[in-house]
Every structure is written in C-alpha cells, then in structure tokens.
C-alpha cells in the first residue's frame, strides 16, 4: 500500500497543490494541506487513494478558508492595489492576472468550480462524479457551464477594470 501511495504522491502531489492553491490562494498553505492529506492517506489507506485525497483536501481547504475568512487575512491580500507597484514588473503582472482569475473563479457556483478544479487537477469524469455527487452524465454539462462562466467572468473583470481606469 505505501508503495502505491508513494507512486500516487509522485504523480499527484503537484496537481493536489494546484487544486488546493486555487482554494486557499497561498502556496505554502496549499503545500501544507497537500502534505497533510497524504499523511492522512497513509493512516487511512483508502482504496481509491487519488479520489480520496481530493475529497479530503477539499474538506481541509474549506475549513482553512473559513478560518482565513475569520482572520481576514486574504481580504487584505486581495485588496493590495496593483497600481501601487510598477505595472511593468512581471511578477506584479502575474499576481494581477492571478487575482483576476481568482475573482472570476469565485463567481462560479461551488459545484461548477469544484468540477472544474478537479478536472484541471487530472481527475476523470468518473472520479469527479463520485466526488461531487453529480451524475456521470452531468459532468460534461457542468464543465461546459463552468468553463463558459470562467471565461466570461474573466472577460467581464477585464472590462470593468478598463472602465474603472477610464
């Protein structure tokens, strides 16, 4: 069992961090949670470890987000004004893009967002169905909607910003 987990760790760790990052928006926190999810997998030895990891990780991220909301930590991060730093700076630009995508993602319904993030993390339709409670046949429809809304929300955010800047 641990050998299997070691293999899953090798192949899935990054995807799990990516998945978690888009929920907690803090790479170190995402890594901590991913590590903890694997540590729990070692204890529980779930049968389908990969799907299980994402279930547990999603739960941990949800708890984490609640706590973060209480601490108002992320809100401060979000409100840091990108205009306060030179826009030519690549890192700042990347950060701005990231927060735009984040804003767009947050406009999705939780279920649409979850399906999209799970797909992006490499889970199959079957695994997504198991995890979200969606019917297998509804996963495609959910993803179609989630993708469309993400793209539209992102474009909408860009438009708003241009208007705001005059």
């Amino acid at each position: 069992m641990p050998e299997d987990l070691a293999e899953i760790y090798r192949t899935t760790y990054r995807a799990l961090v990516r998945f978690l990052y888009r929920k907690v928006w803090d790479v170190e926190r995402a890594e901590d949670l991913a590590q903890e999810a694997f540590a729990r997998a070692v204890v529980h030895k779930p049968e389908s470890a990969r799907g299980w990891l994402f279930v547990v990780a999603a739960n941990m991220a949800r708890d984490d987000a609640r706590r973060a909301a209480r601490e108002r930590r992320h809100l401060t991060l979000l409100k840091s004004d990108p205009a306060s730093a030179p826009a030519v700076d690549d890192a700042v630009h990347a950060e701005t893009e990231r927060s735009r995508v984040r804003t767009a993602l947050e406009q999705l319904t939780p279920r649409d967002r979850e399906a999209l993030l799970l797909w992006d993390a490499g889970l199959s339709y079957d695994e997504i169905a198991t995890q979200t409670g969606l019917a297998r046949g509804a996963v495609g429809t959910t993803l179609a909607r989630a993708r469309r809304r993400l793209v539209e929300a992102f474009a909408g955010g860009e438009r708003d910003e241009h208007i705001a800047r005059g």
């Binding site: 641990p2 990516r18 990052y21 890594e31 694997f38 339709y125 495609g140 993400l150």
Partner: protein
C-alpha cells in the same frame, strides 16, 4: 438533417475524451452531417483551451516536490506523534479520553478476587442492571495499586502522590470506611451492594498473552455477569448504549465489550483483569500500568499510548491502548456524532 443536435455537455465530454464509446460514435455521425454542430464543437474546443489558459494563470508558483511525508516500503507508517485537533478522528480520541476518565475514576479492582458468593451473584443476576451505576461511580482503593506499581518506599513519585490525593478526594463521600489501605474485603458502597463474583483461578502469564490479531479469533457472546466475573469489576463501557460482552476461547481472561453507535461505527473495548495488564503486548505497557488520575496525566498517557491501524477482514480499525484497556473503533466516523458521543460518555 437530424433534429437531435448534441448539447454542450456532450461536446465537452467528447473533447475531454470522456464520452462513452457508443455515444462518441453517435456524436461523430451527427457531426458528419451537421455543420452547425461542427461549428459549435470548434467553439467549445476554443472555450476549453481558454479556460485551461486562465486556470494556468492561477497556478501556484512552481516549487520542488518535497520529500514524502511517509516512509516508502512495506513497513507501516509511524503513527502521528500527536493527534491534530482537526483530524476527523478527533472525537474518537475524545471518547477514549472520556472512557479513560471513567476508568480511572473507578480506580483499580482488588488484586485478589473476593471469595465467591453464589447467592449474591444469583440475586444480582436476577435484579435488573442499574445503568446509572456504571463506570464513573466505581470506586476502589487506588493507593494499593500505586503501592504495587511505585518504586520501593523512600523515593515517592510526586505524580503518584498527587494522583493518590485526587483519588482520595474523589472517593471521599463514597467510601465505606476512611481507610485507603489495600484490603480486598473493604469495598466501596456500590461494589459491596452488587455481588462479588467468582473469578477464575489465575492462569499462567504465557497463556494470557493475547493473540497477535485478537480480532481474527472467534468471540462468543457471554452474559454480562460472566464478563463482570472475569474482570472482577464492571466492564468498561460507554453508558446508555447497548453493549454486548464477548469472550474468546483463545484468550479467556479478556473481555470484549462491543458497542454499536447509531452511525454504524463499532467501538470495541478489550479488557482484562487490572492486575494482568494490557490485553495485548504493547511497548507502552509499563507506562500504561501506572495510574495517573489527573487529566494532565491522562493526556500525557494518550500521547504515549500506541495507535495502530490494523487490517483485519479487509476493514480498517483504529486501536488504542488505555491502561488495561484496548480500544478499537471501526467504521465511518462522522463528525456530527462527536457531540452525541460525548453526551453518551458523560
């Protein structure tokens, strides 16, 4: 042209290579004769690409994959040094603490079992069992146990002293006599009220060693009175919850109390007479036999106690040692049952 156009969901499933074979064939056949749907297919392909692009923008900075948080190989992973408070199993730990608290409030049973009193035993069997007289009210002379466990006189253990004091305080209004000296004849009120049950003669220690996989053996249901007779005291259980006592021919001096929670989770308490130690060889045995009755001591003990996941009959079980007790919890552990269990344990 076919009227049954494909919907976006099918197109996305198709583009994601997740459409079942038969459906994919049907869809391809339709695309062959429907330019409109071919156009939509390309639109959706672009949409998927754009969505992936956006998600990539929100990817975390690339960092190295840290080393495994566990040891590869067949050796079982080391148990966590402590239980994180937010672990889903946290309530299980709490239940164990509650059980252990009850266990120590009860104190230790007399070393030498009292002589059999069959009439009283029969009377007791006939009387309905009073569930209010469960674990937390049991009292026994604790200092005896301490004397038995503590190093030779002259080097008193401060913690043991404190433990003795707190136990003495707890016993204050329940003891028949003020004497805390070890004396199997002096029993607490409620213990005197119920029958002193016959106890089987001591068995050689070797025969007592519990099997390595206690759950692999056959357990037979025994009457509660028999279980009590084996242990010399009331078997530990979660109050107000149906309990079944069992015994295995392979370990006759071990009593297994099975209690099923509403959630389907099964709590198994393996217990053997106090003087005989933990119902399974354990590296924590020596520590587990000391009897700190303070909450702090308990917490310490909880961390020292061994946690072991066992794969038995293809199912996972959580086992934990608390003093003479081996606690196993099996099944789903929904978080909402924590408060319920705490209530029960109280």
């Amino acid at each position: 042209m076919s009227i049954s156009h494909v919907d976006d969901g099918q197109l996305h499933a198709y583009l994601d290579s997740e459409l079942p074979q038969a459906e994919a064939w049907r869809l391809e056949a339709h695309l062959g004769e429907c330019p409109a749907c071919r156009g939509r297919l390309e639109e959706q392909r672009a949409l998927i690409a754009r969505a992936s692009e956006l998600l990539a923008l929100a990817a975390p900075p690339a960092r190295d994959v840290p080393p495994l948080p566990f040891r590869p190989g067949d050796a079982p992973p080391p148990p966590p040094a402590r239980w994180p408070a937010r672990l889903p199993l946290a309530w299980a730990a709490t239940v164990v603490v509650a059980l252990a608290a009850g266990w120590y409030l009860r104190g230790e049973p007399p070393i030498a079992p009292a002589p059999p009193d069959h009439r009283a035993a029969a009377a007791n069997a006939a009387a309905p069992r009073d569930t209010t007289r469960t674990v937390p009210t049991r009292q026994a002379p604790e200092p005896k146990t301490l004397a038995q466990q503590a190093p030779p006189a002259g080097r008193p253990v401060p913690e043991a002293d404190e433990a003795a004091r707190s136990v003495a305080a707890a016993q204050h209004d329940q003891m028949v006599s003020g004497s805390a000296l070890p004396n199997p004849q002096i029993t607490p009120l409620d213990q005197a009220a119920r029958a002193k049950s016959p106890s089987p003669p001591p068995t050689p220690a070797a025969a007592l060693a519990a099997p390595a996989a206690p759950l692999a053996v056959r357990w037979e249901t025994i009457p509660w009175d028999t279980a009590r007779a084996i242990l010399g005291v009331e078997p530990v259980r979660i109050p107000n919850l149906p309990a079944v006592a069992k015994r295995s021919p392979a370990a006759e001096r071990v009593v297994l109390v099975e209690q099923q929670l509403a959630s389907g989770t099964v709590v198994r308490l393996h217990e053997r007479p106090a003087a005989e130690g933990v119902p399974e060889p354990s590296e924590s045995g020596a520590i587990a036999n000391a009897a700190p009755s303070k909450a702090a001591g308990l917490r310490e003990r909880m961390e020292v106690g061994a946690v072991a996941m066992q794969r038995v009959d293809g199912s996972e079980r959580l086992a934990r040692y608390v003093g003479n007790l081996r606690v196993e919890i099996e099944g789903a552990l929904p978080a909402d049952s924590l408060s319920k269990l705490l209530e029960l344990a109280r």
